[in-house]
Amino acid sequence: MGYTTILDIVGATIIGGILLLNLLKLNENVYAVDNATGHDVNLQVEVVNVANIVDGDFNKIGYCSDPMNMNDDPKVTLADTSSIKIVFDVDKNGVYDTVYYYVSDLNALSGTPNPRDRILYRQVNSDFPFIVSNNITEFKFQYLGALYDTLSTPLASPGLATYIKISFRVEDPFAFDEKYTEAFWRRLTVTSKNLKRN
């Protein structure tokens, strides 16, 4: 075996090694992208599902199927940064119900790698709370008065809330290389026609 042959083998090994490394990196990247997009699909579906539930409820604030039972009592009875109690006739039986949205603390999902995720609950009257989402990392309300002035939370008089800004963010509980995908939704103002009937 001559000197040239050894050089060929060493050169081929180096080039082959570099090629292999590139392929492995490429494989990793493809896996990461596939993972992220796969999770992204789930998150996007999640955000739309949560948005539909929130939309459905907040569009109905103050509604009662029996007009004789409608009143001018406040239809927002608790107004805090990440929790709210709204009043409307959920089951269209002519009687007002209270729907309570709130998020758990971080400990509730401490078993997941994502350190920020929480559970979003929706509770009707005193029923068992229903889990709307367990990917929530941010669930925020901002309240505006009749003159579009921002009200500081928690509102001492929730009835003053005339407009409500809602936003939430969902993130993956698991992620490749801790790069959690996220999806964000917000509704600038909720002006349910029944919230302030004037």
Partner: protein, 417 residues
Amino acid sequence: MGGKVSIILVMSFSLLFALFGRNILNSSVTITENFSDYYSITRAQSIAISGANMAINKLYLNKSWTTGFSNLAFADGEINVDVDTVGWDSRRITSFGEYNGVTKKVEILLEPENFAMFGNFYNVFGSVWAATGDTFQGRFHANDWINCYGDPVFMGPATTSKGVKLYDKYSHPEFFGGTKVTDPIPLEFDTSVIRIAAYQNGKIFRDTTNSGKVTTVNLTFLADGNVKYKLKIGAGSYTTEETVPLNTLAPNGVIYVEKGNLRVEGTLNGRATIVASQKGDATAGQVFITNSLQYEKNPLTNPACDDMLGMVAENKVTVTYDNTRGDINIHGSIFSQKDGLVIEKYADYTTAHNMNLVGGVIGQKVQPTAKYALIGGKYVPIKGYSYVHKYDTRFLKVRPPFFPSTKFYRVVSWYEE
């Protein structure tokens, strides 16, 4: 040999990447479809809301419009609206918005708006300011600016045709029912409706000599359901006082004085609307409240209260001067088409009393009720009457017999699917 391996390697990796690529592409397509579906839902809902608003506008322009819309093209979608009559004269609008195969529904119930629904209604606010310490209950409307000095509180929905005017940067009115700028609501009503009701099954007092004189009627409501009354024509003398059951005098509750004035007090047991029409005479069309005028049961504390009073003056409603009277209770919804609720000679009282009003005041303008003095750094009433107002929430659902209506419908409930 090396060439074959290379080809196999390249083909294998190509296949592998193609599979991953397909998955990634599928994910992107799914995300897009997901948002496309959400967009279709929200757009269909917006179209349905637009249809509902268009129908409300049609009803605003024409109260008897029930045609609806059928397959109306709108924003690349379609609107279908049905308008149904509910009960006697309420309306239900059902609007369907269709977009990209998604259909959403909006259902609205409207009812004719009457003036008794207002706790306070003023055509002109003028230079009067709602000030700190003022609490307005019930629905509030001004065909003018709502002038706010300091921190007045509006407990019910407040609407204005011009907006809210703050006296200075320290003024922070509180609107618990929200506030909105709306079209003016004309302070007018068709007197013929209530006059016909009085002729048909109520009671009409008028100058039976047909000499064009002003008729004055004194009414005293009694807690047992009777009413005492006497009348005079022009400057003549009063007739003998008669006592009859209210539901015999006016079975439908309407007591109407044509071209005349009413002097009223007592305790009402039943439902009535008393009307003073002007018929071209500047001195007529007035209701004078001579003493407390209250219900047999207080609606604020007794849910069984079924008494209800409307006072309609084509001119004005006046609380007559009586320095010995003390506090006065007034229960009922007051409608004064050309003036307001006037306290006669309020500055001549030797001290200040409370005017406890349970009901509403609907008038052309805000009138002063008391004289104020700056005592201990605060303005306090020293003569006349303090305006202590509580809205009778029953008026949101039931009005006194034939109490004037506005020309519009109001939205009672709004349901979005």
